[in-house]
C-alpha cells in the first residue's frame, strides 16, 4: 500500500489527509467530439461525492476512465496511490479489484443463485473453481458471501435464482457482490435509474449507509436531484466536458443544481 494517498481511510471525511482520488486535466474522446475536456477534481476518504450532468455530458465516460474500462485520451488519474493511466494489465487487474462498481443494470448472471452471484465478487482476490459457484466454495468464502447478502437484507434469498428476484432485490444482490470484493472505493453509475422510485431510494440509502459504515469513498452518479441532495456530502457538476460546479451538499443551491438535470425530477 502506498502510504501518502490512502493513509486516511479511517479518518472519514477528514481533509487533513491527502485525497484517495485525484483527477487532473482528464481529456477523453471516442474519436469524434471531445467528451471530457480537462476534467479535474479530488475525492477524500469516506466522503460521498455525487456527479451530476445532463444526458450525454460524459458522466459514465468519466467513471469508466477511472478504472480504465475505456482509455483516457490524456490527463492524469491517481487513485489509492496508483497512477491509473500507466498500469499494465496485471497491475490494472489488481487495482480494479480494490474498486467496487455498481452499474445501472445489475449485470448479475441470471441463471445462478444470489449466493453464487455474490460469491463472484471474491474473484477480485481469489481465482480458480472455488470462486465460480457457491457449492464449490470454501466455508469461509461462503460465510462471507452470506454475510454480504445479510448486509443488504437478502440472506433469506441466498439460494434463489436471481432472475426470480425483483429489480430492487437484484440491484441489492449486485451491491452485495460489490461488498464481497472488500472495496476501498465505490463507484456507482445511476444505480437507481432502472428502479421504481421507492426501490431506487432504498438502493441509494443502502449504498450511502454501507459506505458510511465502512468509511468508504463513494462516487455516485444520479439523475434524481432529491437523491443527490439526500445522499451526498459533495456535488460536482459536469457540463461541456468540464467540471463547472464543485460544492458541499449543504451549501448547494437547488436552483443551480437543477440546471444540470435536463428533465424535471419527479
Amino acid at each position: 500500500m502506498n502510504a501518502p494517498l490512502d493513509a486516511g481511510t479511517t479518518l472519514a471525511g477528514s481533509t487533513l489527509v491527502g485525497p484517495v482520488l485525484r483527477v487532473s486535466d482528464l481529456v477523453k474522446s471516442y474519436g469524434g467530439p471531445t467528451i471530457l475536456n480537462g476534467v479535474s477534481f479530488e475525492a477524500y476518504a469516506g466522503v460521498s461525492l455525487a456527479v451530476i450532468g445532463a444526458n450525454g455530458s460524459g458522466k459514465s465516460t468519466l467513471l469508466k476512465c477511472l478504472i480504465r474500462l475505456t482509455d483516457p485520451t490524456s490527463g492524469r488519474i491517481e487513485i489509492l496511490g496508483h497512477e491509473v493511466i500507466s498500469l499494465a494489465s496485471r497491475a490494472l487487474r489488481r487495482f480494479r479489484s480494490r474498486i467496487g462498481v455498481v452499474w445501472q443494470k445489475h449485470n448479475l448472471v441470471p441463471r445462478l443463485s444470489a449466493l453464487s452471484n455474490v460469491l463472484h465478487g471474491v474473484q477480485s482476490r481469489l481465482s480458480g473453481p472455488r470462486s465460480w459457484w457457491q457449492w464449490a466454495a470454501t466455508d469461509a468464502v461462503r460465510a462471507e458471501a452470506l454475510a454480504c447478502l445479510a448486509r443488504v437484507g437478502l440472506d433469506d434469498k441466498a439460494l434463489q435464482r436471481v432472475d426470480s428476484l425483483s429489480g430492487g432485490q437484484q440491484q441489492r444482490v449486485a451491491i452485495a457482490r460489490m461488498l464481497m470484493q472488500r472495496p476501498e472505493i465505490i463507484l456507482a453509475d445511476e444505480p437507481d435509474a432502472s428502479l421504481d422510485p421507492q426501490s431506487g431510494e432504498d438502493v441509494m440509502r443502502l449504498l450511502s449507509d454501507l459506505a458510511r459504515q465502512d468509511g468508504l469513498t463513494l462516487i455516485v452518479i444520479s439523475h434524481r436531484l432529491e437523491h443527490t441532495l439526500q445522499f451526498s456530502d459533495r456535488i460536482i457538476g459536469l457540463a461541456g466536458g468540464l467540471i463547472t460546479m464543485d460544492v458541499a451538499t449543504q451549501q448547494a443551491d437547488p436552483i443551480k443544481l437543477r440546471r444540470f438535470f435536463d428533465k424535471p425530477t419527479e
Partner: protein
C-alpha cells in the same frame, strides 16, 4: 374503390428487367439443364431398374420377409454402434468447448488465434465424417477406434460452431462487470459465460448426439466399426433379408435416440 384508382391504368404484369437480370436467368437455367442431362438417369434405365427391383425374384422380394435369425448378434453390434456414437459425441463436445472459446470474439486471446480456431472448426465441419473415417483408419487401423475419432472430429466442427455462436450471443453485462473487478478470463468464462449458455449448450449437445448416432451407422461401410460392416457384408453376400433386419433395427435406434433427445430438450425449455 376510390375514383382516382379507377381512372389510373392497371400496373404492368411484369416489371422491366435489365440485361444483367436476363443473363442471370439464362445462366441459371443452363446450369440446371446441363446438370440434369449429364448426371440424372435416363428414363429407360429407370424403367429397367424398377422392373428388376419389383420382379418376383428381384431385390425387393428377396428382402421380405426380414431374417431375424441373427437378431442377437445384430443387437450387440448395434449396441457397439451406439457406444461409438456416444463416445464420439462426448469426446467431440468436450474438445469443442476450447475451440469455441478461442473462436469467440470477446474471449479469444488474439484475433489470429480466433481466425485459426474458426478455420479449424469450419474445416472439421466441411469434410464429411466418412472421409474422416478413412483418414483415421489409415492412422489407427480398422475398427471402432477410427470411427470414434471420425465422429469426434465431426462433432468438434458441429458443436464448436454452435457453442461459439451461443457465447457470442450471451449477455455481455455480467462478463464486463466481472472484468471490471479484475476477474481472470477463466473466472469470467466459468462463472458468467457458461451458466448463461447452459440451455443452448445442452440443446446443441443433444443434436450432436443424434447426428453422431446417424453417422455411426454408416461408418462401418468403410471399415470404421459398428453395424455398418454387417450391413455391407449382408449386401455383399446377397443376404438382403438380413440387411433389412439390420436397417430396421438401425431405424429403431435412430428414431429412439431422436425421440429421447427431443423429449429432454422439451423438458429443458
Amino acid at each position: 374503390m376510390t375514383p382516382s384508382l379507377a381512372r389510373s391504368a392497371p400496373p404492368p404484369r411484369f416489371q422491366h428487367r435489365s440485361l444483367a437480370e436476363y443473363v442471370g436467368i439464362i445462366v441459371v437455367l443452363a446450369l440446371v439443364i446441363t446438370s440434369v442431362v449429364n448426371t440424372a438417369p435416363p428414363l429407360d434405365t429407370l424403367q429397367r431398374g424398377a422392373a428388376r427391383l419389383f420382379a418376383p425374384s428381384g431385390f425387393l422380394m428377396q428382402m421380405f420377409p426380414p431374417d431375424f435369425t441373427h437378431v442377437d448378434r445384430i443387437f450387440w453390434k448395434l449396441l457397439e454402434t451406439l457406444q461409438m456414437a456416444v463416445a464420439g459425441a462426448a469426446l467431440g463436445l468436450i474438445c469443442a468447448v476450447p475451440f469455441a472459446i478461442l473462436a469467440t470474439d470477446r474471449l479469444s486471446p488474439h484475433p489470429l488465434i480466433k481466425t485459426a480456431a474458426r478455420g479449424c472448426i469450419a474445416f472439421f465441419r466441411t469434410v464429411p465424417d466418412l472421409v474422416w473415417a478413412i483418414f483415421f483408419i489409415i492412422v489407427v487401423g480398422l475398427g471402432p477406434a477410427a470411427g470414434v475419432l471420425a465422429l469426434m472430429i465431426d462433432k468438434i466442427g458441429f458443436a464448436g460452431r454452435f457453442f461459439a455462436e451461443a457465447m457470442e450471443e450471451a449477455d455481455t453485462g455480467p462478463q464486463d462487470a466481472l472484468r471490471a473487478i479484475g476477474a481472470s478470463r477463466m473466472g469470467i468464462i466459468f462463472s458468467a459465460v457458461f451458466p448463461a449458455c447452459l440451455p443452448s449448450f445442452t440443446a446443441t449437445s443433444l443434436f450432436a448426439l443424434e447426428k453422431s448416432v446417424r453417422g455411426s451407422a454408416a461408418l462401418g461401410l468403410v471399415g470404421a466399426g459398428g453395424i455398418g460392416v454387417d450391413l455391407k457384408v449382408a449386401f455383399d453376400l446377397f443376404n438382403y433379408d438380413e440387411a433389412l433386419t439390420i436397417i430396421l433395427m438401425m431405424l429403431i435406434l435412430v428414431v429412439g435416440v431422436e425421440q429421447g433427445s427431443s423429449w429432454i430438450r422439451r423438458k429443458l425449455i
